[in-house]
């Protein structure tokens, strides 16, 4: 119901706490962060100001542009990897697994790792890929290699593997939901009309599951883009990502205005992505009844 | 004509933004009456019921229940209870907990022992003894319906509101529940106000029917009044069925008023003094077209266009010379020889002047 004079007291009783909380502790902080991004730094202090110097620096200094581009690349690779692994799994769960109880169990087992500490899941790859880690020692003891290799850990590949591992459930969840909602009779109808399984997939299932692909990809991309643990644990010297840069600006480099500008940039990027994603989703939504 | 009114709406209006769901409406319901609000979806009948129940607040006007102005009172402070369309049973409570709910709320805190007794009594009233510990999900549609009834009447309301109480049941069950509703009304002796879009239900159960259309009351009356003397073509068509035909006035003739329908002159029992010079609409109920008639009966000549078999009855689609609409008749199968009911053959039927419904003035409402 629309809030009017009659319903105002009830509405106010319910909503004043959440409203005050969210404005004061969430919206205002983001607002302040954005405003600090226009400040000036004169070491070691910061002064309120309104200038675009911090943003200009982010876009011109190769030190920053390299990191931003690299983060975009890694996030894109992680998204692609998760989609590549997640789609077949979601399809398998939605269309191949019978009966329903087994399907639920398997689906749960995809979600369960999300509940296990994210830090630990990143860390496990350090013990697997390290120089005296599980993979190397296994290969040595099997006689495949003679001495441990240091090519597994501390590079971008290790980062992509780790991040795919961490975020693939976020891809599977929306994909499974969408695929599971596709009425099985549509597939039967398509096959009844003489279309083979592959073309049925291309012409029926894929278009109907695009919403899930978009939702999963957006989520995975945003999460991978902002990650800062994997670079620290398994990334090498060329593994710095935007989040690490952010950390530095608020730590060692002590340049809050620049850090805020970078954070604002990330905020804008995420907002734009979410907006595009919901637009695409709305445009492509088909009522499946 | 009405006993002491227990529910009165005085100029009650309900608007949602620019849309008026109910135009200023006056309605009085007497103590112990069974009143039905009847009409198609969107006619304002459910809004009216919800205004009485307190789920909607009137935009203007007053709602009075047993002499008290309850217009701005919330539902929990009104002496009425409702049987909801989809029953709205609480899924997390057993049957007896559902029924006891209204006895255990703070405003009506009945002692535990009395609660149990009244729940048992209510279960017996609706014939659900032994179901007390079931959950709603374990019940059939008809049983849920009974629980909803028991839950509403256990509080001994002055007025019971029923929102399409039988619409979720299948046809067979619905007829059984109609009998049940009638019995409950008699046994409880309280006022029932029911909303329905099903005219047979309304005709079978009600003392009075309020026919509604587009947010207004079209006519109020007993089932026979509405059937015999509908005030508008809309009511004639909604209560029962009627062939509605445009006709031209052709002046008085003896005690009758004449109308020209196509090439035929029709005698109606309407008082000549009431006749207007402008056009009129005639209503003829399909079941009032007969194979014989009195000496003043109108004899109408038809060509049979289509015959539909309805068990012991036949429904005929007929064409009449000079009339561009088909006219429907319903006849017992035994009164016609099969040779008389071939498509394309001629058939003469009679209709008494008193069975001709005449509508003058606005045709729409």
């Amino acid at each position: 119901m629309t809030v009017d004079r009659r319903s105002l007291p009830g509405f106010a009783a319910l909503f004043s706490l959440p409203l005050a909380w969210v404005i004061l502790l969430l919206i205002v902080p983001y607002g302040i962060m954005i405003s600090v991004s226009f400040w000036t730094r004169q070491f070691p202090l910061f002064y309120p100001d309104f200038q675009f110097g911090n943003f200009a620096q982010l876009f011109s200094d190769p030190q920053y542009t390299t990191v931003i581009l690299r983060t975009l690349k890694i996030a894109a690779l992680v998204t692609a990897g998760s989609l590549l692994l997640g789609y077949p799994l979601a399809y398998f769960l939605a269309f191949t697994v019978r009966p329903g109880s087994l399907r639920n169990l398997l689906y749960m087992s995809v979600i369960v790792p999300l509940w296990v500490s994210y830090l630990l899941r990143a860390y496990t790859w350090k013990i697997i890929l390290g120089t005296d880690g599980a993979l190397n020692s296994l290969l040595v003891s099997l006689g495949i290699i003679h001495a441990p290799l240091d090519i597994f850990l501390y590079n971008q590949t290790a980062m992509v593997i780790t991040l795919v591992y961490i975020f693939v459930p976020f891809m599977v969840m929306p994909l499974y939901t969408v695929l599971d909602n596709i009425p099985k009779r549509l597939i039967e109808a398509s096959e009844d009309l003489g279309v083979g399984p592959f073309m049925t997939f291309i012409q029926v299932i894929l278009p109907l599951s695009l919403g899930g692909v978009i939702a999963g990809s957006t989520m995975t991309f945003c999460l991978a883009f902002g990650d800062f643990v994997a670079p620290v644990l398994v990334g090498g010297p060329d593994g710095t990502m935007v989040a690490n840069l952010l950390q530095t600006q608020f730590g060692a480099a002590l340049n809050w205005p620049l850090g805020s500008a970078l954070a604002t940039l990330v905020l804008i990027l995420v907002l734009v992505l979410l907006q595009i994603s919901s637009r695409l989703d709305r445009a492509g939504r088909i009522n499946m009844t | 004509m009405i006993s002491k009114p227990i529910v009165s709406l005085e100029g009650v209006t309900k608007t949602y933004g620019n849309f008026t769901a109910l135009h200023a409406t006056d309605l009085s319901v007497g103590e112990g009456e069974f009143v039905t609000l009847l009409g198609p979806s969107g006619c304002g009948k459910t809004t009216t019921l919800r205004l009485v129940g307190g789920f909607e607040r009137a935009s203007a006007g007053r709602v009075v229940i047993s002499g008290e102005d309850v217009t701005s009172r919330p539902p929990y402070l009104r002496p009425v209870n409702t049987v909801f369309q989809d029953y709205a049973l609480f899924p997390h409570m057993s049957v007896s907990q559902n029924i006891a709910y209204g006895l255990s709320v703070k405003s009506n805190n009945v002692p535990r022992a009395e609660q149990a007794a009244r729940v048992a009594e209510a279960l017996e009233l609706v014939g659900l003894e032994g179901m007390a510990d079931r959950r709603p999900e374990e019940l059939s549609g008809g049983q849920r319906q009974r629980v909803a009834m028991a839950r509403a009447v256990v509080r001994r309301p002055r007025v019971l509101l029923l929102d399409e109480p039988l619409s979720a049941l299948d046809v067979k069950l619905r007829e059984g529940m109609q009998v049940e509703l009638k019995r409950l009304h008699r046994e409880l002796g309280i006022t029932f106000i029911m909303v329905t879009h099903d005219q047979t239900e309304a005709l079978a159960l009600s003392d009075r029917i309020v026919v509604m259309n587009k947010g207004r009351i079209a006519q109020i009356g007993s089932p026979t009044e509405l059937y015999d003397n509908p005030s508008t073509p809309y009511v004639a068509d909604f209560i029962g069925a009627a062939n509605l035909l445009d006709a031209a006035p052709a002046g008085p003739d003896g005690g009758f008023t004449m109308y020209r329908l196509g090439d035929t002159l029709i005698r109606s029992a309407q008082k000549p003094s009431l006749a207007l010079a402008s056009g009129a609409m005639l209503g003829i109920r399909p079941e009032r077209l007969l194979v014989s008639g009195s000496e003043v009966a109108n004899r109408l000549s038809f060509t049979i266009k289509e015959v539909l078999f309805h068990g012991d009855r036949l429904k005929l689609e007929l064409m009449m010379r000079g009339v561009d609409k088909p006219i429907f008749a319903e006849l017992a199968r035994t009164v016609l020889a099969s040779s008389q009911t071939e498509t394309g053959s001629h058939l003469d039927l009679y209709v008494e002047p008193s069975d001709i419904l005449v509508f003058t003035g606005g045709h729409a409402g």
């Binding site: 087992s109 500490s117 496990t124 599980a134 945003c222 995420v270 | 929990y76 409702t82 703070k106």
Partner: protein, 260 residues
């Protein structure tokens, strides 16, 4: 069972592969937590509980664990109180700025945690909340509001409004209706979001990283230990956390089985 075509076999293979990929590392973690060696390498060198003993003797780590539990419980409670009332208001009323409010609440869930952490750090510094576990609780509760609001709202949307009307019709005041009809109906979503909040808060690094003071939480403690190097003690703690997570999951599945 029908015989599978080549692409179906491939599909099964890939799917089982992905499932193995999801669990192999966790198995590794548990395996090495019992391995009697300072390095995590094959072949295994024998069974030990030494790393678990080391963890239990490590006061700093235990203190961090305690801090994490306190923070997660407090943040969850605050988030529930604010989130459930917000969900009720959002579900029942329409008002200007509703979409904006909802989007704001959901933003921290898709925004990198560091950005939210930075925003809060900036703000807390200026209004004088010192970096402390209190700041972390406020930060987590705020960042996790979206979890509660979205889950509870989804459940409220499925709630049959007629049931609330029926309750009022039967004489229950709005408060009674909330307690006896609404709350039992949304119970599973409240418990579900509480468990999720607890887990996410217990596990949270980026916001905590900026808001915490001298006292640290377990993830921060482990994170700073890891930067210095690997100790198998971490495997032991990790295994315990995995075990606790599984217990939580089983708990939530049992509790959330909707009794309808």
């Amino acid at each position: 069972m029908q015989s599978l075509r080549w692409w179906q076999k491939g599909l099964v293979g890939v799917s089982l592969g992905v499932l193995a990929f999801l669990y192999l590392p966790i198995a590794m973690l548990i395996l090495f937590s019992f391995n009697d060696s300072k390095v995590t390498s094959f072949p295994l060198s024998g069974f030990t509980l030494h790393w678990y003993e080391a963890f239990l003797a490590n006061e700093g780590m235990l203190r961090a664990l305690w801090n994490s539990l306190v923070v997660a419980v407090c943040a969850t409670l605050v988030s529930l109180v604010v989130g459930v009332t917000a969900a009720l208001a959002l579900d029942r009323y329409d008002f200007p700025g509703k979409r904006l409010f909802q989007n704001a609440i959901l933003l921290p869930l898709s925004l990198p945690g560091l950005v939210t952490g930075i925003a809060m750090l900036n703000f807390y510094k200026q209004i004088g909340i010192p970096q402390s576990l209190t700041a972390v609780v406020i930060g987590h509760a705020t960042a996790l509001l979206g979890v509660v609001v979205s889950q509870v709202m989804a459940r409220l949307a499925k709630l049959n409004r007629r049931q609330l009307e029926a309750s009022a019709d039967l004489g229950a005041t709005p408060v009674e209706t909330f307690r006896r009809v609404t709350l039992p109906s949304i119970r599973s979503s409240v418990i579900g979001s509480a468990l999720l909040c607890f887990t996410l808060s217990f596990d949270e690094i980026p916001v905590t990283y900026f808001l915490t003071g001298r006292e640290v939480t377990l993830p921060i403690y482990i994170y700073s230990t890891l930067r210095r190097g690997i100790t198998p003690e971490i495997n032991a703690v990790g295994s315990l956390i995995v075990a606790a997570s599984f217990i939580l999951i089983i708990l939530s599945v049992t509790l959330l089985r909707d009794r309808r």
